[in-house]
């Protein structure tokens, strides 16, 4: 499985000279599975550039797992080239709702007055459905979705492909509902992340910022590190960077995270636009 990050910024796209190193695109991760299948995690602004690359090849099937429908995770769909070209077959999964279909919920953004073109006008064949409650197969991978702690219905995903595991929890506040010393099974997302080779996890805030934003649905960097330790993760990828965070600030904060996981994990990484990791 090849993991390619097309966007790791949280909340709001943040282009500019201060963020050019780690990038300003909102969440989108491409997984190239062992059998060649393309599985995409979230549709933030990073999916625009991914789409441009995908349409260089012949139309085919694409699979997209949406963690939730906050704007920074779906705002790229209006410029995701395969959706706007005939011949492509897209299958979307997202968080369940007892009141509206996933298509109807995504259409709230992809419709006037928020967007000039409606989803129903997209030439591609697009199916939308609630993520299954049990693990399901996509290409050579098994995908598992679980509801996790964030504002509103939100999923985390675990993707296992040929024995290697990526876990994706871009928006997650596990320590809102658990103490740092709690039994792991009472920590949101623990079972999903357990033993992962790579965990891309919400690391939006500093400790000081978190104190003022408890309950906003995001983690401090040290909480992300503590969670990855509790789950026995092999490597943590800091993800969903605050839009106000410059490259220099991110690097300065890195040492705090590395300290927490030292001696137990591979050194953490700061996810950035263009990052490619081979899990094999």
């Amino acid at each position: 499985m090849i993991v390619r990050v097309w966007g790791a910024r949280g909340s709001l796209a943040a282009p500019g000279p201060a963020t050019v190193g780690y990038g300003g695109n909102t969440p989108c991760v491409e997984l190239e599975l062992a059998d060649g299948t393309t599985l995409i995690l979230d549709a933030g602004s990073g999916i625009r550039e991914l789409g441009q690359r995908l349409v260089e090849r012949d139309p085919g099937a694409l699979y997209v797992c949406l963690t939730h429908l906050h704007l920074d995770h779906v705002e790229g769909l209006g410029f995701f080239a395969p959706l706007w070209r005939a011949g492509w077959k897209l299958r979307f999964w997202g968080p369940p709702s007892p009141t509206a279909t996933l298509r109807a919920r995504v259409s709230r953004y992809l419709s006037p007055p928020l967007f000039p073109i409606g989803l129903s006008e997209a030439p591609a064949e697009a199916e939308f459905e609630d993520a299954p409650r049990e693990p399901w197969r996509v290409g050579s991978a098994v995908v598992e979705a679980q509801t996790v702690e964030h504002r509103g219905p939100t999923l985390g995903y675990r993707i296992e492909d040929e024995g290697r595991v990526l876990v994706y929890l871009p928006d997650h506040e596990p320590y809102l509902t658990a103490g740092l010393g709690d039994e792991p099974k009472w920590i949101s997302g623990w079972a999903l992340a357990a033993g992962a080779d790579l965990l891309l996890h919400d690391s939006q805030y500093t400790e000081g910022e978190y104190t003022d934003r408890i309950g906003w649905g995001h983690s401090s960097m040290s909480h992300a590190a503590s969670f990855s330790r509790a789950a026995g993760v092999h490597r943590l990828g800091m993800f969903h960077h605050d839009p106000m965070r410059s490259d220099r600030q991110l690097e300065a904060l890195y040492d705090q995270v590395a300290e927490v996981v030292r001696d137990e994990q591979e050194p953490p990484l700061i996810a950035r636009d263009g990052l490619e990791i081979v899990l094999s």
Binding site: P98, T147, L176, K185, W186, G195
Partner: protein, 135 residues
Amino acid sequence: MERRQPDLVLIVARSFATKLATPTLIIDANGDLVYFNDAAAEVLGSSYLDVGALDASRWQELFQPRRLSDEEPLTAEQTPGGVALLERRPVHDSFAFRGLDGREREITVTAFPLFSHPDEVVGVMSIFWELPPAP
């Protein structure tokens, strides 16, 4: 590593209960007791830290719930929490039990099922009050 954990709804319910001053008890979808808060500990006669999680038959055996009207023993399924779980509806009722400190008590309970999906109950939250002794 076994990757099993309670549904998020149960995790959040437990977290909510830890912050409540009202006696609150939570059972999971199997009827097993998975948490009660400090306020509940006063009524139940022991703390959750001391008791820990209990399967349905064990907590029934420990607390010996009984009907108020005739002192007939109640099975776990006949307590308000059990009815809420089996019939997937809120229940309000009173019953007697023996606290873990050995003291007999009467309580009134409101129990309601916790739905994670419209068709899936992951547990029951019960809030309760000790009834004042009969004059």
